[in-house]
Amino acid sequence: MTEVQEKVRDLSEKYGRRRENLLPILQGIVEKEHYLTSEAMIQVAKELDISAAEVYGTASFYSFLDTEQRGQYVIRVCKTISCDMKGKNSIIKAIEDVLKIKVGETTQSKMFTLLETNCLGWCHKAPAILINDEPYTNLTPAKIKAILGDYIRNAEGKQKIIGDIQYER
């Protein structure tokens, strides 16, 4: 068994080998591998005893279950109207400048992927993005450049980065 297959097996063990656990298993793979490789999807099919086409068909329905190669950090820029009005394009431009990639592309180092996405639910703090699961809001070109800088520096030091959202009880 390859490393990926073992991961899939472990996830299937954890969640259970039933169709209803397909999404959690796929989410678990994406969390670790950043996207779903063919190998991983075939292993999921084996574990749940469903066809590989069903795994792919289901995964491809959900925008967070990427089946194309993605970097370690997936940047999703909200393109819905509130963020659009508040300068989403300037944020994309800033990211493109720093990472030297266009929307839809992944850096050569496989560290970042830049995507657009639909409403993230931060319209009052637009423009907003997600980097993997962490939201960043009220962005300006300067702010996003600083955030990316942190990621690049911290990635070298392997530290976890926490977003800027505070929550209370």
């Binding site: 999404l23 819905t80 109207i81 319209c123 009052h124």
Partner: protein, 387 residues
């Protein structure tokens, strides 16, 4: 508030001094008593469709089935709405409490929060809350357990039957109805699925009483509602307001002095132009909303707004039914063609007819609701649509 016509309310976010106090007191009451309270309150679903909550619970309670399910719909995806995230962040216990009350009434032992993937960052926090809550339910002897199911980025999963499919590990495609969720929902079990905010109101009505709740709002739109306010406003954010205000009063409070239009109910809602601010009521008798209020000032192109919405729907349609899948592509291509002079203005009429077909024949609300925003934008800002 500078204007009396607009009343800020504090039911949802008001902190509780004693943890689980409302829940404990409520579950001590009889099912009939609670159900009567909720039905009397006139509470209608806060996700947008506005189905009477008490009735939904009653239908599910009447179902003879061993296993029933309560689902909290936190797949908040409508452009311009973010209140559910705020509620889950600030008062998660009230949401859980509402689910527990519902479970008690309908006789459900399992509950789920369907949390949209975009809010995954909330997961550790919510899980912590949930652990404590599930423990508390055991203590008070309520046989009910809640788990979180995480979505993965699909707007249409907010549609209840699509949400069930998603939870069953399938593509999040809406189902044919009937059967309705209270008869056959998740895994064909009778299911009550409520919006985050609805569940909190249901719980709070049990605390403050239906009378106090009913005293707010109008006869069609009882109580208050949490609004997500964004766009061209100096004070964007979350506000709990009494229902039944006019758009005029709303804009007086939240506008930037140059408000051109307000989009009520998100991309699937209505666009209200300045000339109709006074006559338009926000509520079920006027324009119902899940809470999304997007304000546009005179610097904004309504063509861009519409185009942005169509772009959204074209991607977020599940794609299974013809009018929705192809309809949105045609609408987008059509407005582009008119804007670029490739089709003349009359073509807008054809597109308007198309929205009528989509409204009449689409399988679910996603395709049915386009006529709202499309016709309200095109009719009111025709000059901005043409070449």
């Amino acid at each position: 508030m500078k204007d009396k016509n607009l009343k800020i309310v504090d039911i949802i976010f008001k902190p509780h001094l004693v943890k689980y106090e409302v829940l404990d007191k409520t579950v001590a009451r009889s099912n009939e008593d609670i159900l009567k309270e909720i039905i009397d309150s006139g509470l209608r679903g806060r996700g947008g469709a506005g189905f009477p909550t008490g009735l939904k619970w009653k239908f599910a309670a009447e179902q003879k089935a061993k296993k029933k399910i309560v689902i909290c719909n936190a797949d908040e995806g409508e452009p311009g709405t973010f209140k559910d995230r705020e509620i889950l962040t600030k008062v998660p216990r009230k949401v859980l409490g509402g689910m527990a009350v519902c479970a008690k009434i309908i006789g459900a032992k399992r509950g789920f929060i369907y949390l949209r993937g975009e809010y995954k960052y909330l997961l550790p926090f919510l899980n912590e809350e949930l652990e404590d809550f599930n423990k508390h339910l055991k203590e008070i002897g309520l046989d009910f357990k809640i788990d979180i199911f995480l979505g993965s980025g699909a707007y249409v999963c907010g549609e209840e039957s699509a949400l069930f499919n998603s939870m069953e590990g399938k593509r999040g495609e809406p189902r044919n109805k009937p059967p309705y969720p209270t008869v056959a929902g998740l895994d064909n079990m009778p299911t009550v699925i409520n919006n985050v905010e609805t569940l909190v109101y249901a719980l709070m009505i049990c605390s403050i009483g239906s009378k106090e709740f009913k005293a707010l709002g109008t006869s069609d739109s009882r109580g208050s509602k949490v609004f997500s306010i964004s766009g061209d406003t100096p004070i964007p954010g979350i506000y709990e307001l009494e229902l039944g205000m006019s758009v005029y009063d709303f804009v007086e409070e939240f506008g930037d002095g140059d408000t051109k239009a307000v989009q009520i109910g998100g991309a699937s809602g209505f666009c209200v132009p300045r000339k109709k601010f006074k006559e338009t009521i926000i509520g079920f008798e006027g324009i119902p909303t899940g809470g999304s209020m997007m304000i546009f000032n005179s610097t904004r192109s309504m063509y861009n707004v519409l185009h942005n919405y169509l772009d959204f729907f074209e991607e977020e349609s599940c794609g299974q039914c013809t009018p929705c899948r192809i309809g949105y592509q045609q609408l987008k291509k059509g407005v582009e063609a008119v804007k670029h002079g490739e089709k003349n203005e009359e073509y807008l009429q054809q597109l308007m007819k198309l929205t009528e077909t989509m409204k009449l024949t689409s399988k679910c609300g996603l395709g049915q609701s386009v006529a709202n925003s499309f016709s309200s934008i095109v009719n009111n800002y025709r000059e901005e649509m043409v070449y």
